[in-house]
Amino acid sequence: MGSIKDAFHRMGSPRFFYLGSSLWVRGLYVGGIVSLVIGSFWGLVLAPPDKYQGDSFRIMYMHVPSAHLAEMVYFACAVAGFVYVVWRMKMADVFIAAAAPVGAILTSLSLVSGILWGMPTWGTGWVWDMRTTSVLVLLFLFFGLIALRQAIPRLDRAAYSVAILALVGVVNIPIIKYSVVWFTTLHQPASITFVNEPTIETSMLWPLLVNSIGLYIFVAGVILAAMRVEVLKREQATEWVRTITRSMQR
């Protein structure tokens, strides 16, 4: 138990985090890019075309992982918010600061790819159905997190306020989802669940899984890299950051 607690405390130290994470970033980037390349090649070239949608379904290999990941990033922000509110752990706030823009980008990516997918298959780019609408709301929630942090000059207050907003948002997500069920229309029901046999052909499913895992790893790398920058920015007055920047200049 003691060692776990120690590790938790050490991870809370920006310096330990910065020095320990540089290899991780590289590893995650390599792993993520490799599996994204494999998954995309598999999905775009090797997987058979869809019976009804032809080749246009292949945008799924970007659309589904990014939508899924965007939601996970928000949940992760809320968990980090909880950690910050309870333990005042600096690194939890660094995580939210780094992850919120990444989440907003992922959400936009899934919305844009959804529009591109919808145009040939549904005949319309935008449909106000449950999942489109809740992803749109998710984008707004990310905007809120980013805007609130931008507006508060004091770091401590910004951290605490953003953490509270993330928690309020995560409480609201299920409510928003159920309220949005009211607009059920064209969207196909979710095809991959953990309880039932997936209704998607396995030859199409595997590249999707590889791509999802690849995007997970890649985004973890991106967030970690952004956190490192954030740490350097916040700790710029400390001696260890100065030594690093001095050695970089040389």
Binding site: V85, V137, F140, L141, F143, G144, A147, L148, A151, I152, R154, D156, R157, Y160, S161, I164, L165, L167, V168, G169, V171, N172, I175, I176, Y178, S179, V180, W182
Partner: protein
């Protein structure tokens, strides 16, 4: 309960004495409604159809704009700090402030809404349900808006920031509120969305004051 009563009475008194500021949400409500009529036109088909939704959206904006200054004055003159120092639970005082605020922003809008509905040619069968859903929904708007107001207290640039934060959280209220009206318009019972609104009200009364309290403590963070 002392704290609740003190805050409620004090805020209500301030609101009644500062009449113009108190009248602003109501004036906004009426003005924005008539703007909608100018924009949509007085077509006897479209205007009654959009009317309930328009009233709801305008009521939502009125609620949002008025929550902006919920904590500003208290933050500026230091009474917020005193409230935080008090040894009684913070959320009770917060509830008093919110109730007082709702009495001068959401409640008048809900009371005025039948008049507003007639004003923009809403079908007569929708008038009662519109007022009812507003009565249920505007307190939720005040409670959620209170979280945003507490988070931005003392920042001096509420406005758009508050809107960006709070609007996504307003969406369920808007959906169920105007959804109930359209159900009635289409001849279906509105019990479902009305019950949902009630659930939202109960849930936000239970949870929002704690979030507001925490956010207010954050506003004094140094």
């Amino acid at each position: 309960m002392g704290n609740f009563e003190v805050q409620f009475r004090r805020d209500l008194l301030i609101a009644i004495r500062g009449r113009t500021e108190t009248a602003n949400p109501i004036a906004f409500f009426v003005l924005a409604l008539s703007l909608f009529v100018f924009a949509v036109g007085t077509d006897s088909e479209t205007l009654p159809r959009v009317a309930p939704g328009v009233v709801w959206v305008v009521a939502l904006f009125a609620a949002m704009l008025s929550t902006e200054n919920l904590f500003h004055r208290d933050y500026d003159d230091g009474s917020l700090e005193l409230m935080l120092l008090h040894d009684r639970p913070l959320f009770i005082g917060v509830m008093g402030k919110l109730l007082a605020h709702w009495c001068v922003s959401g409640l008048p809008v809900a009371i005025l809404s039948p008049l507003a509905a007639i004003f923009i040619n809403a079908p007569s069968e929708v008038v009662a349900i519109l007022a009812g859903t507003l009565l249920l929904g505007t307190p939720v708007l005040t409670l959620i808006g209170g979280i945003g107001a507490a988070l931005t207290a003392g920042l001096g640039r509420g406005g758009l920031l508050l809107a960006v934060m709070v609007m996504p959280l307003y969406i369920p209220v808007l959906i169920f509120g105007s959804g109930a009206c359209y159900r009635v318009l289409d001849g279906a019972p509105a019990t479902g969305p009305a019950l949902w609104l009630t659930a939202l009200l109960v849930g936000s009364i239970t949870l929002a004051p704690f979030a507001i309290g925490a956010a207010l403590r954050a506003s004094q963070e140094y």
